[in-house]
Symmetry: C2
Subunit: 384 residues, 2 copies
């Protein structure tokens, strides 16, 4: 049996996440679900969005996947119900999970677009309260509390992260490159207070591909290109961080690139080190003596769903910096056949390395141990 | 001795490329070099540009590289003089070379910005005439005639390519993704006449990283990021082509990604095939039975300067689809120590594979054989 710690899953928010939590005066303007044209739809001040089928394909055949809107009743309950999610996970040998938001966008960037920033902040806080008090509370031995923060203001982000740390937050979901969406980037000092806090608190920062895609690149795009080439965004944004002052100034940072894959990293480091050595003089890089590959091997973790060729290159990078993702309930997930998928994926990999990649690395990184009780209770059913 | 065929070098245009070739009435508006503020500068209708030091660093120490403008007299003659270039190449065991333009931008996209499109076309033609009649004519056994075409109009591009084919063109320098710069992309029919011609003529299409970088991404960027993460552009644009209708409709196309590196390809193919199989139904891909990896192994070639780790993954891709680049006189070049660099790079690689990667693959691809006479004349001096 593979004891799995998935560092990348997705929550389809229940309809009452915001309406039951924001102040009464904001309730009509916060995201809530309405029935229109025979569909269920999220609406909020200044926006509306159909729920998207591709975000909730767990348990459905590939041929039926699509972007067409669905109703909550079209999804399996594990999409939005934490107790059902926990049962689905246990049935697949997944004993811990880090989950990303859906409606707020990865890192919650959607709230940045709200004209009323008090409403925006209340919505960030409501999602975090839902995540900690409701989602993770349903299975506290399994669900790692990863929170979001206001991406439009570093002081607010620090304050909200501190509030969540006091409530037990164990990770921060953040933007892989804020400069992509018109915010200050990682080559200036703007975000330093947030990184300083995360370093001090030992809080891993998880950055999902697409969290800060440039809006311009989303218009007129071809879905298969966006899906198949998405690793290029993780490549560019992780290299951006590797050569920036941030990880040199805060060498204890834990930076996780989610759903970007692992097979390209060794090539990225080979290229980055070469260019660092050749161009460091005229580009006036920060701390030239710290190579980009050193930053990656110290501060960065990369994640994989099923990537056997990429996995075969693991010794050219670091076995201790590779993490497993289940991606439930999204389209890349191996669920409900996670154990079988892992048997294929890890065929021939030594057990000690399997243990690190499937859960040991994540246990250390998130300071969150798998539950021996849950493992003991489910071992029999999961062992072929 | 390594017998090298470099598929990626760069010409610093001599000052009279355009002024000596465009019609007299256009001469003042075509690019020409003027002396101003103690510098040499290119000027043309609507634009001006300082020559850039980083484009001509051959023979200078790393510590002095920069983007500061230089004079022609600051460069070694091999930057702009084809006879000197040929001598430099022979001294390093480089017996054939495919060279890209500098002032016109890769693929000549700068001319698209000219208000007067007659002038723009005349400038494209002047560069091609210079390339074939002057540059390649100086060492016809060594210099592969690669031409540019008007990127703003497919009919003009076809006409100019036909004109150059009649003059002996052996490759076309083109845009890796025209959609990045506001032109029609590769998922519609617009460019098909050009691809049909290239397939029929067996003309390889070389696409250099940065040829069609989105302009938006160039503002406010950090030079080290652009340099170190440039492979991400090759990754995205090659995957874009792999999943497009073009190589499925024209299965004889020869597509070369220049200076994008090779180490990330296996990861790109692993991801692209997985997503192709999982998402082909709802995304309605063209010819679903042809996998992206099949397109890459059939229609695409990838290029490397010095990338030993990437090279170690060659059997996970195709030894027959990897090419060597010298990048003279740019900053990535190993010149003047090309032979020594290759000795390190190819250490432990079987001779038959070395022969393919250093020249055999390129000889077949460009239908351009290394000169036995030149090799015989220079073997003694190059053999340690």
């Amino acid at each position: 049996m593979f004891k799995l710690f998935s560092v990348d899953d997705h929550i389809v928010e229940p309809a009452d996440v915001w309406s039951s939590r924001v102040p009464a005066a904001m309730r009509d303007r916060a995201p809530h679900v309405v029935e229109a044209d025979g569909r269920e739809m999220w609406v909020w001040e200044g926006g509306r969005e159909l729920t998207m089928g591709l975000n909730a394909v767990a348990g459905t055949p590939i041929e039926t996947w699509g972007v067409e809107p669905v109703r909550f009743s079209d999804m399996i309950p594990g999409c939005y119900d934490p107790t059902a999610r926990a049962q689905d996970f246990l049935s697949n040998g997944i004993f811990a999970s880090v989950a990303f938001p859906t409606l707020p966008g990865f890192a919650g960037r959607k709230f940045m677009t709200f004209g009323d920033k008090d409403l925006a902040l209340a919505c960030v806080q409501a999602w975090n309260d839902f995540l900690i008090d409701e989602w993770c509370a349903a299975a506290p031995e399994m669900f790692v509390p990863m929170v979001i923060a206001p991406v439009w203001d570093v002081d607010l982000a620090v304050t909200e992260t501190l509030r969540c740390l006091a409530k037990g937050a164990k990770a921060l979901c953040w933007l892989e490159d804020p400069a992509n969406i018109g915010l200050p980037g990682y080559h200036g000092p703007y975000w330093e207070p947030l990184f300083a806090l995360c370093e001090e608190a030992g809080l891993p920062i998880c950055m999902h591909i697409g969290g800060a895609l440039p809006t311009v690149s989303l218009e007129g795009t071809v879905p298969m290109v966006e899906i198949a080439a998405a690793f290029a965004h993780a490549a560019r944004s992780s290299v951006n961080m590797m050569v920036s002052p941030i990880p040199r100034k805060y060498p204890g940072l834990k930076l996780v690139w989610s759903e970007g894959g692992i097979g390209w990293i060794t090539a990225a480091l080979e290229r980055a080190d070469r260019q660092w050595l050749r161009h460091q003089h005229w580009t006036k890089v920060p701390q030239a003596e710290v190579l980009p590959s050193e930053v990656a091997r110290r501060n960065m973790w990369f994640c994989m769903i099923e990537e056997p060729i990429g996995l075969s290159y693991r010794h050219d990078f670091e076995v201790g910096h590779i993490l497993f993702e289940s991606d439930y309930p999204h389209a890349d997930k191996p669920f409900p056949n996670t154990q079988a998928a892992c048997a294929t994926l890890f065929d021939g990999v030594p057990q000690a390395e399997v243990d690190l990649i499937t859960h040991g690395n994540a246990e250390t990184l998130f300071n969150f141990a798998l539950s021996p009780r849950l493992i003991a209770e489910h071992t029999a059913a999961l062992t072929p």
